[in-house]
């Protein structure tokens, strides 16, 4: 049985007055129970996407559905099934944490008694009980964010939107939000998470969409993206005599004499590409004394997608191809630099 589709976005565009095209034909689907990372730089179109999905902004063209409800024509139904913590925790500085939650619960249609109970429950589960009756002006960044997410949970949403939930937080606050998303993931919630932090998308998301200039540059699980678009660095130590042999075998234009005997070979793709490289080296008759591998990171993927405009879709073609052999311990560069 395939999971239900939680979010379905088809050819979404948004043009703001003045001709700024924030979204330029975005399509993706998010399955129910999935934590979907939406990764991009500032201005890539992340918040515009979230604002359209949460019915706060109308798309210029294209459609978007949340649990089957169209965001443009059926906004009321959409708002009943999701919760959202938008960029910058939207709090009233002069209201306490408890008052925020009680007011949100009341506005969501609960009775006074139910609202009081729901607020107490959320304060407890978000670790805000001690600060419940202090006004928000005195909250730390992490507490503000937790209260904001707690407000988003007032309706027990089936889909949760978190727009850059850790931007501006200290490491402790960030860890708290990560734990929170982890808990949501474990309880089967659907979470749409935007972030500009690669590590965050890698750690939390089942699948990641890399968004760049209003388009989706790539979609897949972090591992898939790394395998397809990342680069693995193979460091080897060989006798000086074998250096030329290796250069001939793997990439004709590389390798200068390395003082300490280490060479770096950059391989397109994930760790799966490594055995083939080793095979090539030994096939060339090189004697490899030592070998270490640096696995690709989502950052490599991001740089290769957004920094050098690599086309993502077909993938595979370059898999396992050695793109550079370099000396020393430099940071591997993307192809074409």
């Amino acid at each position: 049985m395939s999971p239900r589709i939680a979010i379905e976005v088809d050819e979404l565009t948004k043009e703001f007055p003045g001709g700024v095209r924030a979204l330029d034909g975005v399509s993706f689907t998010v399955d129910e129970g999935e934590v979907f990372g939406y990764l991009g730089r500032n201005g890539a179109g992340k918040s515009t996407t979230v604002r359209i999905l949460t019915t706060l902004l109308r798309p210029t063209s294209g459609t978007a559905r949340v649990l089957g409800h169209d965001v443009s024509s059926d906004g009321g139904a959409v708002r009943k099934v999701f919760g959202a913590a938008l960029q910058d925790a939207a709090l009233d500085e002069l209201m306490t944490g408890r008052e925020h939650l009680e007011m949100a619960a009341r506005l969501a249609g609960r009775s006074k008694a139910q609202s009081v109970a729901r607020a107490a429950e959320l304060l407890e589960s978000f670790g805000l009980r001690a600060a419940a009756d202090r006004i928000a002006a005195g909250y730390s960044g992490g507490m503000r964010r937790r209260l904001d997410v707690a407000m988003a949970m007032v309706r027990r949403p089936e889909v949760l939107f978190l727009d850059e939930p850790t931007t501006g937080l200290d490491p402790q606050g960030r860890r708290a939000v990560w734990d929170l998303v982890g808990d949501l993931r474990d309880t089967g919630s659907t979470v749409f998470l935007t972030t500009q932090y690669l590590a965050e998308a890698d750690e939390l998301s089942g699948r990641v969409a890399v968004v760049h200039d209003g388009r989706i540059a790539a979609i897949g699980s972090p591992q898939e993206l790394k395998d397809r678009l990342g680069t693995t660095t193979v460091r080897i130590r060989v006798p000086d005599a074998d250096e030329q042999r290796i250069r001939d075998a793997v990439a004709p234009n590389a390798v200068a004499p390395a003082a300490d005997g280490w060479l770096e070979i950059t391989v397109q793709g994930g760790e799966a590409a490594v055995p083939a490289v080793v095979g090539q080296l030994t096939g060339a008759g090189a004697q490899v004394d030592r070998l270490s591998i640096r696995a690709p990171s989502l950052e490599d993927v991001f740089v290769s997608l957004t920094g050098t405009q690599i086309e993502s879709s077909p993938g595979g073609a370059d898999h396992g191809k050695i793109t550079a052999v370099r000396r020393g311990l430099g940071v591997p560069s993307g192809p074409g630099r």
Binding site: L86, L91, D92, M95, A108, M151
Partner: protein, 257 residues
Amino acid sequence: MSPFAQLRLLLFRSLREGGRNPVLAYALPIIIPLAVLVLVAKTLYRVTDLPGFPTSNYAEWMTPAIIMLTAMTGVGYAATSLVVDIQSGFLDRLRLLDVRPPALLMSRVLFDVVRVVPAGAVLLVVGLLLGTRLNEGVLGVVLLFGLLVLWAAAYGGLYFVVALTTGNAQAPLALAPLFLPLQFLSTQFVPRSLLPGWVQAVAAWNPFTYMVDAARAMTTGPMTFAPVAKAVGVALAMLVVTQTASLRAYKRASGGL
């Protein structure tokens, strides 16, 4: 939740918030009118010796006008808060909870209106202590406070227009001194007959003149139909104009209703 229940909840929020910022929210509307009333009554009281001055107690002459003045020194706070609500994303949060944006605007407008009532009451009590007589009784006082809240909503609309058009939470501050010329170019300090000719002409176009005249009719009397009807008409017209403009500015500032 019905729009009315939403409005009540949001108004309650504003009132509670005002309670946490009492000096700005509740005391400030009182301070300037109180100072004007007491200082003027104690320093310029010989004005009443001028031939043709209708009362012998200057405090009695000033009190009704000063009560209407509280509407003009008290507004602004709510318009600032509304801009903060929009900029902080709080309005978006309310929208996600299916609150219709006009409910937030209206809660802030009503907050301004509610805040002038205690201010007006304090000034009335001080006026009575200074010898003002309420010749038109309870009915006059009830009508006086009715006109006060109507005037507060009408005049306060200016602040909302400026705050929402500029999107600057501090902009209403710039409007604050407006009550000064409006005061002097009206019948607040002396009757129309004692104003220079050009001021009389300007005063006829100053809405505040009509509030002052009606407030006097409702307190020291005699209460006749004409000044009351004119004041209500002027205030209602101003209310419609300023609140229509503020609703439009709000629509733009908040990204649609």
